[in-house]
């Protein structure tokens, strides 16, 4: 959700109070002018800056995940579902008290400890879908390396165990949801958990590392009802261990995962 700055002054006439022609575009800082009428000969402009969320593009072409996730699926999943949540979120933000929060703050705050407020669904799904696209890459999957593999083996025993747990959690969902690899702050280890509907580890304060969308729209066009093929292909061919590494590195600023291994000469 990058906020892009676009300068678009909007004014008309001279010394005439005009109605704000507020055209909200979903991809811009919008500069709108409030015109006052007064006796001074030159116009003065006051700008009120409003900012809304934009639809972030996945970090690859829409067909780059073929054949494991078709271009058609990505086009509809990103261009329609994800986009719809962005637009609905922006609609809420016009009147919401949470305007100005970062998306992560908003997800946690609007979850409201289990009695979610009206903004939660869209805010959380915008965040989760951004996270999801970035959890994948073309030619992904196979094995992680180095510190990531070490941490997974430390917390799951073997890499295969991790894959099994992840798959089991994904298939255990009753109804729409997500499955996450996340870092537990308490316990300082990686764990896997399924969540329902729009919930993510953000709501309970942990750090997501991988997110996989298990709503039917994420896989139905490509896999019909065969969820295990979808999850296996995600793990074997799509998951971006590069993203995982970057996210783990960032997480280490918040969670102490142990002494670094400094080689001794």
């Amino acid at each position: 959700m990058v906020l892009q700055l676009v300068m678009a002054p909007n004014w008309c006439g001279c010394g005439v109070a005009s109605a704000n022609s507020t055209k909200i575009s979903t991809n811009a800082f919008k500069m709108s002018s409030n015109r006052f009428s007064f006796s001074k000969p030159y116009p003065r402009r006051a700008y009120r800056v409003t900012a809304y969320y934009g639809l972030t593009t996945p970090p690859y072409e829409l067909d780059a995940l073929e054949p494991y996730m078709s271009k058609r699926t990505v086009e509809i999943h990103w261009g329609k579902h994800h986009n719809e949540h962005v637009e609905k979120l922006n609609k809420h933000l016009k009147t919401s008290a949470f305007y100005g929060h970062t998306l992560e703050e908003m997800v946690k705050a609007t979850y409201n400890n289990g009695s979610p407020l009206v903004e939660f669904n869209d805010a959380s799904l915008v965040w989760s879908h951004d996270f999801f696209w970035e959890s994948m890459q073309p030619n992904g999957g196979s094995l992680p390396r180095g510190g990531v593999l070490d941490q997974i083996e430390k917390d799951f025993g073997t890499f295969t165990n991790f894959k099994d747990e992840f798959t089991f959690a994904a298939l255990s969902l009753f109804g729409p949801g997500w499955v996450w690899l996340y870092l537990k702050k308490n316990g300082r280890k990686l764990a896997v958990a399924p969540t329902q509907n729009a919930i993510s580890p953000l709501v309970w304060g942990d750090i997501p590392i991988i997110g996989l969308d298990m709503w039917e729209h994420a896989y139905y066009l490509d896999y019909k009802d065969d969820r295990s093929a979808y999850v296996n292909n995600f793990l074997d061919h799509l998951v971006s261990w590069h993203s995982v590494m970057v996210r783990m590195m960032r997480a280490e600023a918040f969670v102490n995962l142990g002494e670094p291994k400094i080689p001794v000469a």
Binding site: F174, N197, A198, E216
Partner: protein
């Protein structure tokens, strides 16, 4: 058309051994061909919906029943409680879809024909008109976040018709014990995605062409007698 799960215990005479017979469930046949509801609902969706999704609910419900039976006979309270979500999900899925297949009918066999008689009058009384009811069901179905069902229900206590939604596979009875399902529309994505993609409102608009009001009328007249 109510489905009841029966776990019957047959005790053999002087209570030395208890034989428990477990009723298991099977996938009901569709009363029409998979392609008979086209173009409102594609044959591919009907086939997957019936042969894969509904069958999975039946299979997993039977499995959960067996596990429940074992837990009950062992006196494993934790086990019994843990099985409740699987029972509700899969049992609900079986109940809901069994009703759903009856709620649909090919156009050639009367699908889409508006309700007459008692149900028609009740709809006019409680919603103003059939159009108003359809509009309400469509808007509630479209607004449902996630997966679930939208129902036209008869409240047997208050003697009025209501529109309700239930999440996931929760059967209508979870919204009120006096509620009787007359019509249920599945708004899980698997019910429409292959044909309508993300445009759930189009699916809801089109499904009325194959809705079996005759079945709804029969249930209504039976329950309000």
């Amino acid at each position: 058309m109510a489905l009841r799960s029966v776990v019957s215990r047959k005790t053999l005479a002087p209570a030395l051994r208890h034989y428990r017979s477990l009723t298991t469930f099977t996938l009901p046949d569709l009363p029409y061909d998979y392609g008979a509801l086209e173009p409102a609902i594609s044959g591919e969706i009907m086939r997957l919906h019936h042969q894969k999704h509904h069958q999975t609910y039946v299979t997993n419900y039977n499995k959960a029943l067996e596990q429940l039976d074992a837990a009950v006979s062992k006196g494993d309270v934790r086990g019994v409680v843990q099985l409740q979500s699987a029972l509700k999900f899969n049992g609900g899925g079986h109940v809901n879809h069994s009703i759903f297949w009856q709620n649909l009918k090919p156009v050639s066999e009367g699908g889409g024909e508006p309700p007459h008689g008692a149900l028609g009058w009740a709809i006019d009384k409680d919603f103003g008109s059939l159009e108003a009811l359809v509009k309400k069901i469509n808007s509630e179905g479209a607004a449902l976040q996630g997966s679930g069902w939208v129902w036209l229900a008869l409240d047997n206590e208050q003697k009025i018709l209501k529109v309700e939604t239930t999440p996931n596979q929760d059967p209508l009875v979870t919204k009120g014990t006096s509620l009787v399902p007359l019509l249920g529309i599945d708004v899980w994505e698997h019910a429409y995605y292959l044909q309508y993609k993300n445009v759930r409102p189009d699916y809801l608009t089109n499904i009325w062409k194959v809705i079996n009001w005759k079945y709804a009328s029969e249930v209504y007249e039976k329950e309000s007698a």
